[in-house]
C-alpha cells in the first residue's frame, strides 16, 4: 500500500509538470489550431537558462531557494521572449498556408532549438544543483521531498493565476473570444495578433516553470530533455480535450498517475515480459487510443473531422 501511495505522489508531481506544459499546447491549439511541436523544447530552454543562472550565481553564497527565486523569472522571461519571436517569425507568416506548412516549420523549430542548445551547452547531461533541502518528509509510509511539495504548490498557484487571467481579465476574454471565433472577435475590436502573441508568451512562461521544476526534481538537464515530456504533455492535452484548459490539467494528472503507477507495476503485471523501459511509449499508446476511440477527449467538445 505504501508503494502505491508513493507512486500516487510521484504521479501527481509528474502530472503537475505535464499540466504546465499541456496548458501551453492546449491554449495555442485553441487559438490557432496549431500543434506547436516545439513547445517541449521551451521546457528545455527554461531548464537550461535556469541552470546557467544558478551556475553563475553558485559561488555567491546565496541560499539555494533564493537562487531558485532568481532563476525562475529570468527563465520565464527568456522563454517568453523566445516563443514570442518564434511565433512572429516562423508561424505568423504561415497562418493562411496549407496545414502541412506550419507543422513542418514547427518541427524545424524544435530541431533548431535542440541543436542550438546542444551547441551552447554541449551535448552531455549536466547536473542541476540541489537547491532545496533533500531530506524527504515522512508522511507515515510514503515520503515526499520539499522539491516535490514545491512543484505541487507552484503548479496550484500558477493554475489559479491562469484561471483568473482567462476568466476575469480583458485579455482572457479576448483569448476566449478569439478561440471561439477569430473573425467575430476581430469585429469586436480584438487584435488577433496581440492575443496570439500573448497566448504563446503565457504558454512559454508556464513551460519555463515546468522546466525548472523538472530540473530541480530530476537533477539533470540536457538539450534533449524536452522531447519526451513535450510529447507526453501533448498527449495529456488531447486526453483532456484539446482546447479545454481544465481538461489539459485533468489529462496531465491522469497521465502522470498512470505513468508512475504503471512503471512501478508493469514488470509484475506482465510477468517480466514488459519492463519499465516500455513506460515511455505509454504516452504514445494512450494518445493513439484516445484519438481512435474518443478524439474529443475527456472534457472536450466533439471534434468534427468533416471539412
Amino acid at each position: 500500500m505504501d508503494i502505491f501511495l508513493q507512486q500516487v505522489i510521484n504521479g501527481l508531481v509528474l502530472g503537475s509538470m505535464y499540466a504546465l506544459v499541456a496548458l501551453g499546447y492546449t491554449m495555442v491549439y485553441g487559438i490557432v489550431n496549431l500543434i506547436n511541436f516545439a513547445h517541449g523544447e521551451v521546457l528545455m530552454v527554461g531548464a537550461m537558462v535556469a541552470f546557467t543562472v544558478v551556475s553563475l550565481l553558485g559561488d555567491s553564497g546565496l541560499p539555494g531557494w533564493v537562487l531558485l527565486l532568481i532563476a525562475m523569472p529570468v527563465a520565464m522571461l527568456v522563454c517568453a521572449a523566445l516563443n514570442f519571436a518564434i511565433e512572429k517569425l516562423a508561424y505568423r507568416p504561415l497562418r493562411t498556408a496549407p496545414r502541412l506548412a506550419p507543422l513542418i516549420t514547427a518541427m524545424g523549430v524544435s530541431l533548431l532549438l535542440q541543436t542550438v542548445a546542444m551547441v551552447i551547452w554541449k551535448p552531455n547531461p549536466k547536473p542541476f544543483p540541489q537547491l532545496l533541502p533533500v531530506d524527504p518528509i515522512d508522511l507515515g509510509g510514503p515520503v515526499i521531498t520539499i522539491t516535490q511539495m514545491l512543484i505541487l504548490l507552484v503548479t496550484a498557484i500558477v493554475l489559479v493565476i491562469l484561471m483568473i487571467l482567462v476568466n476575469k481579465t480583458r485579455l482572457g476574454r479576448a483569448m476566449r473570444a478569439t478561440a471561439e471565433s477569430p473573425r467575430v472577435a476581430a469585429l469586436m475590436g480584438v487584435n488577433p495578433d496581440r492575443v496570439i502573441s500573448a497566448t504563446f508568451v503565457i504558454g512559454a512562461a508556464l513551460a519555463a516553470v515546468a522546466g525548472i521544476m523538472w530540473a530541480a526534481n530530476y537533477g539533470t538537464v540536457q538539450h534533449a530533455m524536452g522531447f519526451l515530456p513535450g510529447l507526453k504533455a501533448f498527449t495529456a492535452a488531447v486526453l483532456g480535450g484539446i482546447g479545454n484548459l481544465p481538461g489539459a490539467v485533468l489529462g496531465a494528472l491522469l497521465l502522470g498517475l498512470v505513468e508512475a503507477i504503471g512503471a512501478g507495476y508493469l514488470g509484475d503485471l506482465t510477468g517480466g515480459v514488459l519492463g519499465s523501459h516500455y513506460a515511455d511509449i505509454f504516452a504514445f499508446v494512450a494518445l493513439i487510443l484516445v484519438l481512435t476511440l474518443r478524439p474529443s477527449g475527456l472534457l472536450g467538445e466533439r471534434v468534427a473531422d468533416r471539412a
Binding site: 496549431l34 500543434i35 516562423a90 507568416p93 504561415l94 498556408a97 496549407p98 496545414r99 502541412l100 506548412a101 506550419p102 507543422l103 513542418i104 516549420t105 518541427m107 524545424g108 523549430v109 530541431l111 533548431l112 535542440q114 541543436t115 542550438v116 546542444m118 551547441v119 554541449k122 510529447l231 501533448f234 488531447v238 517480466g272 515480459v273 519492463g275 523501459h277 516500455y278 515511455d280 511509449i281 504516452a283 504514445f284 499508446v285 494518445l287 493513439i288 484519438l291 481512435t292 478524439p295 471534434v303 473531422d305 468533416r306 471539412a307
Partner: protein
Amino acid sequence: MQALKHRWPIFLVLALGLLLLPLAVQSIGAGWVRILALAMLYVLLALGLNIVVGYAGLLDLGFVAFYAVGAYMYALMASPHLIETFESLAQSFPQGLHTPIWLVIPLAAGLAALAGALLGLPVLKLRGDYLAIVTLGFGEIIRVFMNNLEHPINITNGPRGLDRIDPMSLWGLSFSKPLVIADYKIASVTLYYWLFLGLVVVSVIVCYRLEHSRIGRAWMAIREDELAAKAMGINTRNMKLLAFAMGASFGGVSGAMFAAFQGFVSPESFSLMESIMIVAMVVLGGMGHLPGVILGALMLAALPEVLRYIAGDIQNLTGGRIDAAILRQLLIAMAMIGIMLLRPKGLWPRPLSQSAGGKSQ
C-alpha cells in the same frame, strides 16, 4: 508526357552516366561509391514517403518504422540469429537461414505494406496534425520494441542489433566479393550501387505510372480537398490506406537492402531523426514532384559528406562545439523553416498548369 518521349537522348546520357559513375569514382576511393549506394537507398525512401505525403497529402512522421520492418525482416531471415536462439529452427535449417533476393524483395514489400495498412487503419481518419503525431508515436514504438524485444524471447537482440547478415547475391554471384571481369575489378559496393540504382529506376517508373493514373488523381484530390473527394464518390479511407501501404512497401524494400548492404542492423539506425530527414527530403525537394523528391534525397544524403569537408574549419572556429553531425542538424532545421517561409512548394515543385487569368477565389 509527350515531352518526355522527345527527350530520350538526354535520359540515355544520364543513364549511362549514372551507370558508369562508380567505376569512375572507384579510383578515388570506395568510400565515395558507398555514399552513392546509400544515397540510392535514401532516394527509395523519399520516393515511398512521397506517395504518402506528396501525392495523398498525409504527413507521416514515423516512416522509418517501415524501413526498420524491412531491415529486421531480412536480418532475421538471413543471419544466424534465429538459428542460434531457437533450437527447433536450427534443426529444420541445418544450413542456416538464407533468403534469396527474389524472395526478399516481395516479402519485404509485402510485410511493410501490411504494417502500413495496420498502422493506417485506426489513424487515417485523423486530421493532419494529429496524424503526424500519431505516426511519430508509431515510429518510436517500433524503435522501442526493436530495442527491447530480447527478453523473455530474444527476437531482435535489443540494442546490440543483429549482425552477420548475408550479403546480397544475384544468380549465385555474391555481392560480398568484388567482381572480376578480365583484368578489371569491380568493387563490391559498386555491385550494390547498381542493384540499388536498378531498384530506384523501377520505383521511379512505378511512381510515375501511379501519379498519372486514376489512382494518382484520386490521391491528389484527397490532398487538395478531402471532403470534395468524398463528394465525388471516392472512398477516401481506402485510398489513404492504399497510399500508406504503397509508401510503406518502398520503405520495407529499402530497409531489406540496407540490412544486406551493411551486414548489420541496430535500433540506432531507425531513430526519429531519420524520419524527420526523410520528410525533409520530400518537402525540401518538391512534394509530389518526382524530380524534386530525388533532388531533395540526393542533397540531404550527400550533405553529411559535403559537410565533412567544411566542418573541420568550423569545428576549429567554435572550439570544437560544432561538428559535422551538429552542422547537418542545424542546416536541416533551418532549411525546413526557411523553405516553408520562402518556397513552400519545395526547391523543384510541380510545374503548375497554366493560369486562365481569371480572378481566383
